[in-house]
């Protein structure tokens, strides 16, 4: 038995924690990459980062240009950005606080501890690298604590669904924005471009894995890994596979069937990612493919909400 409201909170704890983690990753990798770059590539590299988070308009209402300082301010702490890391953690914590009787004490203390830590780092004026490091570690610990302390009931599957859906969408978006900037944007040095792709891989913790398989940095291969790989925990296919498992566990549907729209869309997209080849995807246009993926992810989220979390009751 699980209240819809509690399932909703778990779903959003998963989403917000994952969003905070991903944002810290892209912020951190970009920062480190630029330490060794000529200054004229600066502008080029902070701007797409803002676009990745989907908050471009809000950003330029507040700041004149995208540089490390403004990006850190906006993506790290800003109250004007509902998706800033601090705001995500605040909302994850609010959700956890609301349902703290339903989660393990360890999980609550972990999320609450991260919240207090972020506040302290801000008060101490801690730099970007250490801040992002704290958030990433917090993300890892979050998954560890969930894994080690939560029963595998419906609640677990809603939390899991929130995490993997967010991660799938974030990976698609990171790829989309960088692809656009690097291949279709203004010309930059080859060397810089290669660095940038490396940064993309590092931001999703896939650099080492990539190197073992492909050695050379090529955009098609990077896209292949991040979209279609069946083993890497940040590829879109991998995450939609996990989402499918969780949705089946919640509804009791058998694999190969579906009982609601969220399951149908997840199953269909997962199959596509399983059987599409990267050459076909590039032939049809990567950007379109990625855009469609992001739209599908959002629809799946809306369908989960409509099916389980907010449904109408006739009294």
């Amino acid at each position: 038995m699980m209240l819809s409201r509690i399932a909703d909170s778990l779903f959003w704890i998963g989403r917000y924690m994952e969003r905070a983690d991903n944002t810290a990753r892209i912020l951190d990798v970009n920062y480190h990459m630029l330490l060794e770059q000529p200054p004229d590539t600066y502008k080029l590299r902070w701007d797409p980062l803002i676009t990745v988070t989907g908050e471009r308009t809000r950003f330029y209402q507040k700041y004149d240009e995208a540089v490390a300082r403004t990006a850190f301010d906006f993506l790290g702490y800003s109250e004007d950005n509902p998706n800033s890391i601090a705001q995500c953690i605040i909302r994850a914590r609010e959700n956890a606080r609301t349902i703290r009787d339903r989660i393990s004490r360890e999980l609550w203390e972990d999320i609450n501890g991260l919240y207090h830590k972020i506040n302290r780092l801000r008060d101490e004026g801690e730099d970007l690298a250490r801040f992002c490091d704290a958030v990433k570690r917090g993300g890892h610990r979050f998954h560890g604590v969930c894994d080690a302390t939560l029963p595998r009931d419906d609640g677990w599957h809603f939390l899991q669904a929130g995490c993997v859906l967010e991660r799938a969408e974030m990976t698609a978006r990171i790829l989309d924005v960088h692809y656009h900037q690097l291949l279709e944007g203004p010309q930059i040095l080859n060397e810089a471009r290669s660095h940038a792709w490396m940064a993309v891989l590092k931001s999703v913790a896939a650099y080492e894995f990539y190197k073992r398989q492909y050695t050379q940095i090529e955009p098609e291969k990077v896209a292949e890994l991040l979209l279609l790989d069946s083993r890497h925990p940040r590829s879109v296919r991998f995450n939609l596979g996990l989402l499918q498992n969780s949705l089946y566990a919640i509804s009791g549907s058998v694999p190969g069937t579906y009982t609601n729209e969220a399951e149908r869309l997840t199953g269909r997209t997962h199959e596509q990612l399983t059987y599409d080849s990267i050459d076909e995807i590039f032939a049809g246009g990567l950007h379109n493919y990625l855009e469609e993926l992001q739209v599908t992810c959002r629809t799946i989220g809306a369908q989960i909400t409509e099916t389980y979390l907010y449904y109408a009751v006739s009294a």
């Binding site: 209240l3 819809s4 409201r5 399932a7 009787d101 339903r102 203390e109 609450n112 009751v313 009294a315």
Partner: protein, 455 residues
């Protein structure tokens, strides 16, 4: 014990105090204060020095409370039933009917097992002149604070494990079990596993931490009004797999906000139709609706008479001398002596709406005088009781010094007997000289140790 603490090097005490504070912060044991506009979370200040009550003293308190809670229930059965006490003119009819929390809807309604007040928090003070415990007020609606009792004990055990080896302290941890037993017993459906929920106003309620804590400890569902729906006078909760029937509600939402169709229509935290389900006998509720007619501060003055009337006994615990402003003679006395009295609004709790005569300036007193004259029924007055004091840690001097305390034990009534976990919430006025212990007014709390013996 106090000696040991007094001799403990300051650094070590400080270190343990910080450890304890940290564990409260990490666990998020906070309460919400509203006065600064947007509701801030604060730690409830905790004083590491326990308040110690010898067994013999506790025995008297326990018997007195059991007697009082039984009488309150008998009174409520009577008021919402045959009203013998009104016919016998023990208490004026208009005083009862004019209570802010009297619920006409409850008259003639049969509540499960005839229990109205399942949970009562009775505030006691100890008069330092006589050493006697007096009842300061009854809380018969939804008293809060028990979670602090249980958490304080947990923190104390972590912080001073050795002290528990030496002193034989009576345990308090069985409270949630006892409460759960009572809740199960008021289910209208037979069957071994009734569905019980705790209804909370939500995250922004000052006692939200406690609601979560108790739901978890009892293994019951914590719900908000929006999780519940009434269909054909039956209460259900909305789950991911459809509607599930609910049998018992431990509600921590005030009567006023419980059902927008029956009471305040602007309530966003209630459940439309809940009163109909209650009336139809399809749901058990603790505490019952309308118990505020027992803890009104003017009714309080009559509780000793209830004990005599319903039980034929003399009260074991006495009231603080109380002047009812609804009575013209008593009002005249109060108005003449405002600067020496404590004046309280009858339907309020938590230290809101009161006047501390001796520590108030002239203007505040004059403001209150006008309010009293305009609405005398709404006020009572009591002499200032010199509260007993208990050694507490003073961070300013780094030593132990006496601070005023009160005590709120939590009483559970199952229809036959009253169960009280030994001790209760000791609230302490952390400011030197202050007599106000409410958490919303800068008070703190201590663990309360009832010893197995007198030593």
């Amino acid at each position: 014990m106090y000696e040991k603490l007094a001799n403990m090097p300051l650094e070590i005490f400080e270190e343990r105090r910080k450890l304890a504070d940290l564990s409260y912060l990490v666990q998020g044991i906070t309460f919400t204060v509203y006065s600064d506009g947007r509701g801030t979370e604060r730690l409830f200040p905790f004083d590491l020095v326990p308040r110690i009550i010898p067994r013999s003293e506790w025995d008297t308190i326990e018997r007195g409370l059991a007697q009082r809670v039984t009488a309150l229930n008998l009174y409520l059965q009577d008021i919402y039933g045959p009203q013998r006490i009104l016919k016998d003119k023990i208490i004026p009819r208009n005083l009862v009917y004019s209570c802010k929390h009297f619920r006409r809807e409850m008259v003639g309604l049969q509540v499960p097992r005839d229990i109205y007040v399942h949970i009562a928090g009775i505030d006691l003070v100890r008069d330092s002149r006589t050493g006697q415990y007096l009842v300061l007020e009854d809380n018969a609606r939804s008293p809060s604070g028990i979670s602090y009792v249980l958490e304080n004990r947990l923190v104390m055990r972590r912080t001073f494990p050795r002290a528990f080896e030496v002193c034989e302290v009576m345990p308090v941890d069985h409270y949630p079990n006892e409460l759960a037993k009572i809740l199960r017993s008021i289910s209208p459906r037979t069957g071994d596993r009734p569905v019980i929920v705790l209804l909370t106003p939500g995250l922004y309620n000052s006692a939200y931490f406690e609601h979560c804590f108790l739901a978890q400890e009892m293994g019951i569902e914590l719900v908000e009004g929006r999780d519940l729906v009434v269909v054909d006078d039956v209460v259900y909760m909305k789950t991911i797999h459809g509607l599930t029937r609910v049998d018992v509600i431990y509600r921590r939402v005030d009567d006023d906000f419980l059902d927008p169709l029956a009471f305040r229509a602007d309530s966003l935290v209630g459940v439309p139709g809940l009163m109909n389900a209650y009336r139809a006998g399809n749901i058990g509720m603790a505490n019952a609706v309308g118990t505020g007619v027992a803890d009104d501060k003017a009714i309080y003055a009559y509780v000793p008479a209830f004990i005599k009337y319903y039980m034929g006994e003399d009260p074991i615990l006495h009231n603080v001398e109380t002047h009812l402003c609804s009575d013209p003679d008593q009002l005249a006395y109060v108005l003449d002596n405002l600067k020496d009295l404590v004046v309280k609004a009858v339907g309020e709790s938590g230290g809101y709406g009161m006047l501390m005569g001796p520590s108030s300036d002239k203007k505040t007193i004059e403001d209150f005088r006008e309010r009293l004259i305009a609405d005398p029924r709404n006020y009572i007055a009591q002499p200032v009781i010199p509260l007993s004091r208990c050694p507490s840690f003073d961070p300013a001097t780094g030593s132990l010094s006496p601070r005023h305390v009160d005590l709120r034990p939590y009483c559970l009534y199952d229809g036959e007997k009253v169960t009280i976990v030994p001790g209760g919430l000791t609230r302490v006025a952390l400011q030197r000289g202050s007599l106000v212990v409410n958490s919303s007014q800068g008070g703190g709390s201590k663990d309360t140790w009832v010893l197995r013996g007198d030593e």
